[in-house]
Amino acid sequence: MTFSQRALYILRTFIKYISLVLITFISILPTVSTVITAFKTEEEYTSTNVMTPPNSWVYFKNFVTAWKDANMGLAFLNTFIILVFVLIGSIMFGAMLAYILSRFKFRGNEFIRNLFLFATLIPGIATQVTVYQIMHSMKLINTLQGYIILMMGTDVISIYIFIQFFENISVSLDESAIIDGCTYYGVFFKILFPLLKPAIITCMILKGVSTYNEYYMSNLYLQNKSIFVTVSTSLYTFTGPYGNQYNYICAGVIITILPALIIFILCQKQIYSGLTQGAVKG
């Protein structure tokens, strides 16, 4: 290596790490500042700068207050129930539909695929005006089941992930099972469904994250917040009377982020690959 090449290499490495450190700082600064504030007493919060570290990192009173005031125990329970049903429902229906669309040749197959694709172009929040009326006429407003049905709805990305996955499973597997006297249901539930495991995990993560973080529709369809509060809508508690009491608000925000952080640390790889797959097929 000549001298100039070496200098260039060092310069490049320097720029690389400087920019990485800078972007990391920007990425975590907003969240870290809320963590700092969440540990401050009311007095500290009003008297010190927001970036000054708190006196004690084990002062949990704000968290307790936020948890109680925003009714977060109930919120986590509701979100858990919603997650269980939405995940089971959307994965079962998605896999079933994908099985039909990838294994059966029939007139209308292409049409149904396009129907699902085209639906993604309809701006979701825009149609809520009319979805609300439909939900209202079915008496599904302010019911968990109504919200669950709505969230199971049309999850095109998981359908496409499943279709892609089915196309990589040899059809001869189905055929030999049919010859052995297996019904189509048997083929699906006993043979193919267990093989779908990686695709199911991918879909569970994608759908799980979006369901956990969903706040717009839950605010609209689960208006009775004293009963049907979810983790994200529990944060709406802090909009009105809390005003600028950010020590409580930040504690509430941290509580809702924590589960996402834990899941992220545990399944980083699956989240990345899930996203990549979902985007390429979607």
């Binding site: 490049r12 690389k16 990485l20 972007i23 990391t24 920007i26 990425s27 600064l29 907003p30 500042s33 927001v50 229906f93 998605g94 079933m96 539909l97 039909i100 059966f104 029939f106 149904i112 129907l115 699902f116 639906a119 172009l121 701006p123 929040i125 825009a126 149609t127 005006v129 009319t130 009326q133 439909i134 709505l150 709805g153 049309t154 359908i159 189509y184 994250v209 956990y212 973080n213 969903e214 717009y216 609209l220 994200s232 809508t233 944060l235 709406y236 802090f238 608000i249 509430g252 925000v253 809702t256 982020i257 996402a260 992220f264 980083q268 989240i271 990345y272 996203l275 990549t276 390429v280």
Partner: protein, 333 residues
């Protein structure tokens, strides 16, 4: 069984039906019906039915409850003449510029992190994590972040700026939309980056090796190997960011509530429907937005049909050709 026999002898239709149901064809039919009914009902009930109803509503002057009056195209005329609506479409330009910056940053860091980097997965994780924060939590975080004298101002004063010279990030009309766009970049840049890393990783590793044996430097590797092989996903993301910026909603909804000139088209539509209860006008807005999205999507299909029709060509061949050309050029000098 005897029961079946009697019915069969009576009409024969039922027995034929049962026979058909037991046949392969019948079985296929049954499973198709049982497996597709629920997903199709959900799709029609929550996507198509609302969509067509919205189309109908857009011609009426109506609220959620009460009488409705047919007014033809007046809603559309009102929307297009509305100054606020035009302003909101201008805001889409802010979001579009923001998302191009976001894509450029994502590409830069994705390329960097695709090569060996100390602490690479840590950097990747921290850059990506904002994507997993819910919109409503993000709203609180940034209201706090931008408040006068709080996080952002503190950082800037430490860097030597005077607090008096700093604007009110969410109030001053010149800057508040930039502040909002920045939060959107903050949230989605990491996700774009992960997509790009995935695409770069799928490029054949041998290409880099053979290229570096041929004397290609990092820039050559980026320009002639990485960029061509992920150009499809980049262009796709650029087009998606057009529809994305037209339907920008979250940052103003959760941070400013659309006050002081930050209301995007989507937010105006939301307020129209839920605050002012002007269902007809909101529906008209939704359909205008929908037609814009359709136009962009058609353009996208055309671009991919005509510009990227050769994208299936073997990348290594293309790369080899480009490298040869490049080296020939350098030799000429």
């Amino acid at each position: 069984m005897s029961n079946l026999n009697t019915t069969a002898s009576k009409g024969g239709i039922l027995s034929r039906l049962i026979k058909w149901l037991r046949s392969g064809k019948g079985q296929r039919c049954i499973i198709m019906i049982t497996f597709m009914t629920v997903p199709l009902l959900l799709l029609i009930g929550f996507a198509y039915l609302p969509f067509f109803k919205m189309f109908e509503f857009s011609f009426f002057n109506m609220k959620y409850i009460g009488e409705r009056k047919f007014i033809g195209l007046d809603n559309y005329r009102d929307v297009l003449a509305d100054k606020e609506v035009m302003n909101s479409l201008m805001l889409a330009v802010y979001y579009l510029i923001g998302s191009f910056i976001q894509l450029a940053l994502a590409l830069y860091f994705a390329t960097m992190l695709s090569f060996k980097t100390k602490g690479g997965s840590f950097f990747k994780g921290t850059i990506f994590f904002p994507y997993l924060i819910s919109g409503i939590a993000m709203g609180f975080i940034f209201k706090f972040f931008y408040t006068r004298g709080f996080v952002f101002d503190t950082v800037l004063t430490r860097l030597g700026f005077e607090l008096e010279n700093l604007p009110y990030w969410l109030r001053d009309k010149g800057i508040n939309n930039v502040s909002l766009v920045a939060t959107s970049v903050w949230k989605y840049m990491g996700q774009n980056m992960v997509l790009f890393i995935g695409a770069i990783m799928s490029v054949d590793k041998e290409l880099y090796e053979s290229a570096s044996l041929d004397g290609a430097n990092r820039w050559h590797q980026f320009r002639y190997i990485i960029l061509p092989s992920i150009s499809t996903i980049i262009v796709l993301n650029m087009i998606l960011s057009i529809t994305g910026s037209l339907s920008a909603f979250e940052p103003p909804y959760v941070i400013t509530g659309g006050t002081r000139g930050t209301a995007t088209f989507f937010l105006l539509m939301h307020n129209m429907a839920h605050r002012h209860q002007k269902v007809g006008k909101a529906s008209a807005m939704a359909l205008i937005l929908f037609s814009l999205i359709i136009i962009v999507t058609i353009a996208q299909k055309l671009i991919f049909k005509y510009v990227f029709s050769d994208s299936n060509e073997d990348v290594s061949k293309k790369t080899a050709r480009m490298l040869r050309k490049q080296r020939a050029k350098e030799a000429m000098r």
